[in-house]
Assembly symmetry: C2
Homo-oligomer: 277 residues x 2
């Protein structure tokens, strides 16, 4: 009988911004977050049970809150301004790597640049970043989406922090061929990049890959797509309950990685479950 070996990616899981936000939420206690603090339901439940941190969907749900926490992905500029103008105590857990593209967007807009954001327009981070532009702003996932748009000759481009750098380069290349000045801000965060590199290397040799993270987490989805590209038998799960023992039949090496919002305790539960199989 084959013995299944489990190997963790050399980089995985919690990034700086998520660790920081959880620490802030734990310290705040009894606070409410505007939108889920991070993209991981299990961890949000833990914060609710242990620290009475509630999750609101938006500022319209505010009632008599004394403390609010801004989620790691940030929130739209107007919402933040309203909160800051109120009497509510605002704890800003926006990841500093997300604050950066917000600031760039605002400054470049002021300086007369058209803004291109490489990202998913429905993702809260991107909605937040976009809200800081006060001129032309285009959110795209593919360069082709710019084809019928008349761009100014000065374009600034930023990326959602969790995107793949190769695609970002393609978009920049497209812009270079069309526009006189392209001001490129590589706002893809290093943790994302390192987790991506590590999952790539591991999935090249693994027989089966397990990527753990929220299904609405952009960086987790990217990790899963990279794994899938190199290892056909790749699975994206949120918790150990989704594991199917058939996945491991006849396999020798099981690679494990996790998104930037996946806590170690969930990763450990998954590994324990696989080991039992």
């Amino acid at each position: 009988m084959l013995i299944l070996k489990i190997e963790l990616a050399s980089n995985y899981g919690f990034c700086f911004g998520v660790k920081r936000a959880i620490k802030m939420a734990e310290n705040a206690k009894d606070a409410s977050t505007i939108g889920p603090l991070i993209h991981n339901n299990e961890e949000i439940n833990r914060l609710k049970i242990n620290f009475n941190v509630k999750t609101l969907n938006g500022i319209n749900e505010l009632q008599d809150e004394k403390k609010v926490i801004i989620r790691t992905h940030g929130i739209p500029k107007n919402d933040l301004e309203k909160l800051n103008a109120s009497k509510i105590d605002v704890i800003d857990a926006t990841c500093p790597f997300v604050t950066k593209p917000q600031q760039i967007c605002e400054k470049m807009s002021q300086d007369g640049y058209d803004i291109v954001i490489f990202g998913d327009e429905n993702h809260p981070e991107v909605k937040g970043v976009k809200s800081y532009a006060n001129g032309n702003v285009f959110v795209i996932l593919e360069e082709e989406e710019l084809e019928n748009i008349k761009l100014s000759q000065k374009v600034a481009v930023v990326s959602q922090t969790t995107r793949k750098v190769e695609k970002f380069m393609q978009i920049v290349n497209y812009l270079i061929s069309r526009v006189k000045e392209v001001r490129v801000f590589n706002t893809i965060c290093n943790a994302t990049f390192e987790n991506q590199e590590a999952v790539k290397n591991l999935s090249k040799k693994a027989d089966v890959m397990i990527v753990i993270g929220g299904k609405n987490s952009s960086n987790t989805k990217q990790l899963y797509l990279i794994a899938k590209n190199f290892c056909e038998d790749s699975y994206l799960i949120e918790s150990e309950n989704e594991i199917n023992s058939e996945w491991f039949e006849g396999k020798q090496l099981c690679g494990v990685s996790a998104g930037a919002s996946t806590p170690d305790w969930i990763i450990q539960k998954v590994i324990n479950k696989i080991e039992k199989i």
Copy 2:
């Protein structure tokens, strides 16, 4: 017997900047240029014979000149300042598409950006552009040349006007992966780009390609390399005297293109000679 058909590229020859410079030289008469006005010896001879336009190697060769013409490629900033401070009448025939990267280089340097110039450090245009930087400036042809250089997190990048855009993109991609902000100025001129596209399309179908232009002309060399890439039997010549009738034996379609500094009258002589074969 096969009949050889000759086809000109859809774009070729004199660009805007060269036409402008020749007109200025013809109007100036009896003037001296600092360095060859354009990279074409035959045309420079014509200007000398018909308009008494002399060519000096540098400002150190100035004697009792009353009028000097700045070559299309521009000259180093210090030299231009010396000339402007003298009593000599300065006619600036620097191509406006070259003035642009000079200005960018100066401004970006002042704003604290490291400068990367994609180009040949021995080419007069690049020497001129480089001279406008007053901070860190790196001239490269390959991205690998940047590997051991410690760059600031703010880099501005320009290109020699006559380079290939694909390679420029590669260099930008390399910078994006290393540096937080890359400010990309696509200073490759359209005429160069159009001539390159045209020679590519023509050389795909031609049996033999003749590219006419100065052997020290950067844009002519690029055209030749593109032609050679698609048509093995490609030749770079400066005049009809270099033509070898053996090149055309058994060929059906001869493509012809010419660099941005090649006058029509030379192109015509070449075509006449090929037709006689």
